[in-house]
C-alpha cells in the first residue's frame, strides 16, 4: 500500500474557495489601498477631484528636486533609529526588572502596560505639556538646572521631545513581549548557570539575551515599522515638524500634504516611497539580521 505523504486536493477549485476569505481580506485591506496610492501618485488633481490628469513620474520628480524632502530622510533615519534603540533597551531593562520582582508584580506589570492604551496624539500632547518652554514641569526643572529648554526654536530639543513621546508610547508593547519571552526561558537553564557560578549580569548576557533573540528580532521589525508609520500624530501634536523642518519625518509630511494641504498626488507619491523603504528595510532585516537569530 502506498502511503500518501502529502495531502492533495483532487478538485481544482476547492483550495481557492478555502483561501478566498483570506485573499479577499488581503486584497481589500492591502492591495486595493496600495493600488490606489500607486494610481494617485501618477495623477495631478485639484482638491475636489473635478479635474484629473496623468503626469507620469512628475510628482516623484518634484519631491526629489525639493532639498527639504531629501533632508527629511536623514531626520527620519535619526528618529527611527533612536526610537527603536531606546525603546528596545529601556523596555528590555524594565522586563528584566519585572521578571525578578516577586511581590506586587501584577500591579507593577499592569502599570507598565498602561501607556499602550493612550492614543498617539494624546501622548504627544502630554509630553508637550511637560516640556512647554514657559509652563511645563520638566522644562521648569531643567531651567533650575541651568538648561534653557526651548523645543520651539532648538531642533535637538524638539527631536528629543518626539523621540521620548514615541518611545514612551511603545515601551508597553515591547515590555509585554520581552516579559513573555523571559518567562518562557526554562528556569532550569538560569539555575544551572547560577550553580556554575554566573552572576546576574553574566546570566543575562550569556543565557537570557541569546534565548530572547527571536523576540528581539520581532520587536526590532515592529518598532522600525512603528517609527516609520505610526508616529505622525505624535509629531503633529508635539512639534508640527518644527522648528524649521527639524522634526518633519517622512510620514508626517505625507500626512500633512494629504490631509491638511489636500495635495493627494504628492502625498500618494510619498506613501509609495515610504512603502518601498519599509519593504526594503524588512527584507534587509529578514535576510541579514534573522540569520543571526536562533529559534
Amino acid at each position: 500500500m502506498v502511503i500518501e505523504k502529502r495531502v492533495l486536493f483532487k478538485s481544482g477549485w476547492l483550495p481557492w474557495v478555502l483561501v478566498a476569505p483570506q485573499l479577499a481580506i488581503v486584497g481589500v485591506f492591502f492591495f486595493w489601498p496600495a493600488g490606489q496610492a500607486l494610481l494617485q501618485s501618477v495623477l495631478r488633481e485639484d482638491a475636489f477631484g473635478t479635474r484629473s490628469e496623468f503626469v507620469g513620474l512628475e510628482n516623484f520628480a518634484a519631491l526629489f528636486a525639493d532639498e527639504t524632502y531629501l533632508a527629511s530622510f536623514r531626520t527620519t533615519a535619526v528618529f527611527s533609529a533612536s526610537v527603536a534603540a531606546i525603546g528596545l533597551t529601556v523596555s528590555l531593562l524594565l522586563a528584566v526588572m519585572a521578571d525578578r520582582v516577586v511581590r506586587f508584580s501584577t500591579a507593577y506589570k499592569t502599570l507598565l502596560v498602561w501607556p499602550y492604551a493612550v492614543a498617539p496624539a494624546v501622548a504627544g500632547v502630554l509630553w508637550l505639556f511637560m516640556f512647554a518652554p514657559s509652563i511645563g514641569v520638566v522644562s521648569y526643572a531643567l531651567r533650575a538646572m541651568g538648561i534653557n529648554w526651548n523645543h520651539l526654536l532648538d531642533g535637538d530639543h524638539a527631536m528629543l521631545l518626539i523621540v521620548l513621546a514615541a518611545v514612551w508610547k511603545q515601551i508597553s508593547y515591547n515590555f509585554l513581549f520581552f516579559l513573555a519571552g523571559l518567562q518562557s526561558i526554562p528556569k532550569s537553564l538560569v539555575e544551572a548557570a547560577a550553580i556554575d557560578g554566573a552572576g546576574p549580569w553574566r546570566r543575562f548576557w550569556t543565557v537570557q539575551l541569546p534565548l530572547l533573540a527571536p523576540t528581539s528580532f520581532f520587536l526590532l521589525v515592529i518598532n522600525v515599522v512603528y517609527a516609520f508609520f505610526d508616529t505622525f500624530a505624535i509629531v503633529d501634536a508635539a512639534t508640527s515638524g518644527g522648528p524649521g523642518k527639524e522634526t518633519a519625518i517622512l510620514v508626517y509630511k505625507a500626512y500633512f500634504d494629504g490631509f491638511k494641504a489636500m495635495d493627494l498626488g504628492s502625498s500618494a507619491a510619498q506613501s509609495v516611497i515610504l512603502m518601498a523603504i519599509v519593504i526594503g528595510l524588512t527584507v534587509i532585516q529578514f535576510r541579514y539580521v534573522e540569520r543571526r537569530v536562533n529559534y
Binding site: R44, E45, D46, A47, F48, G49, T50, R51, E53, A62, D66, T68, S134, L152, L153, D154, G155, S240, G241, G242, P243, G244, K245, F256, D257, F259, K260, A261, M262, D263
Partner: protein, 436 residues
Amino acid sequence: MKRTLASLALAAGMAVALPVHAQVEIQWWHSMSGQLGEWLGGLAKGFNDSQKEFKVVPVFKGTYPESFAAAIAAFRAGNAPHILQVFEVGTASMMASKGAIVPVDQVMKTAGLKFDASIYVPAVSGYYTAPNGQMLSLPFNSSTTVLHYNKDAFRAAGLDPENPPKTWPELVRAAASLKATGHKCPFTTSWQSWTQLESFSAWHDVEFATRGNGLTGLDTRLAVTTPLHVRHIENLANMAKQGLFVYKGRNNSADATFVSGECAMVTGSSALYGAVQRNAKFQGGIGTLPHYPDVPGSPQNTVIGGASLWAMSGKKPEEYKGVAAFYRYLSDPQVQAKSHQETGYLPITMAAFKLTEDSGFYKQFPGTDVSVTQMVRKTTDKSRGIRLGNFVQIRTIIDEELELVWAGRKSAQEGLEAIKKRGDVELEKFEKANKS
C-alpha cells in the same frame, strides 16, 4: 387610553402620509466651537424661527482644515453639504474648483432674489471676488490683524497705557522698557505669516505676491524679498536676539501666552478680543498693527482672515432657494451688527458698521473699532487681499523658515529667499493643476 393611542397613531400616520409642510433641510458644515459655536447655532436658530419653509442644520466638523478635508471627501463620494464654511487660505482652492461650487449671485438668482455685492465692506468682499468680478462666496466671519497689549504691564513699566506703540520703532522702545522692568516676554506674535508678512505688506501698500497678490491670476509668485520685508524680519530677529520678541509657536499658540499675562504685547487676530475680555486678569487694550512711518503710503489697510460660506454644487433647486434665503438673513444689518458686537469679528456690510457706530458701541467699548477702521478704507491693487493656491503649504514654509531666522540659524535675507524659492514651487504646482 385606547383612543389616545389610536389618535396618536393616526396623527403619526398623517404626518408621514401628508408631507405638505415638510421643511427643506439645509446642511451647514462649520468649524466654530465653544463660544463661537453657540453664536453660530444662534444664527441658524434665528433663521429657522423666522420662517417655516427651510431648516438650516449646523454640523460641527472640526477645525478649518478638518472640515475642509471632510467636505472634499464627502464631495468625492457625492454627498457634500449644502453650505460649507471655508477658511481664507482655502479660498483659492475653492475658487479653482469651478465644478464643485455655486457662486453667490447664482444661488440668489435661482431663488429670484436680488444680490448687491456693493453692500459689503470692500476689503472683505474683494477677497471672495473672482478676477472677472463675480463674488463667489458669502463673507461670514472675518477678522484682521491688530496689536493687543496689556495695560497693567504698560503701567508697571512706566509706559502710557492709553497710548499703544503705533510704529515698529515705538514698539521696540516699549518692549525695551518692559524688559528693563523685568518682563520676560515683552512682545510675541500669533499667525506670523499673516501678521508679519501678509498684513504687513498690505499695511505698507507693497505686494506680498505678484499679480495683485494672486487676486488677478494664477501665475502669481511671492514678492517677499524686497528691502522693506528684509528690514522688518531683520528687525524682529534682532528683537528675538535681545529677548524683546519671544517666539511662542505656530498658528495662534501665542494668544494663550498673552491672555495668561506672560507676554505683554501680541500681534494677532482682532477676534482675540472676546477671550481677553472673558479670561484675562488684566486690562487689555487694542492698538493698530504697527508700521514703519517712513514708508510712503503706509498705513494703508490690513488684510482679512477668517472664513466665508460656499454653496456646494449638485443640489436640488428648492434647496438652493433655502440657501439663498439663509444668505439674505445673514446679510441683514441687524443680524450682522449683533454678530460683530458679540464676537469681535468685523462687520461685513457697511450698514452693520454704521448701525454699530450709531448705537454708541465703539464709545462704550474702546478699541473695538480699531480693526474696523483698519479695514473700512479704499483699498489699492496691492492691499485688496492675498489669495494664493496651496496657501496651507506656503504658510507652513513661512513658519519653518522664520523659525530658523528667530533661532539665528539663517539671516533674514536667507530666510526670505528660501521662502520665495520654496513658495514659488507650490504656486507653480497649483497653477499647473488648475489651468483651464
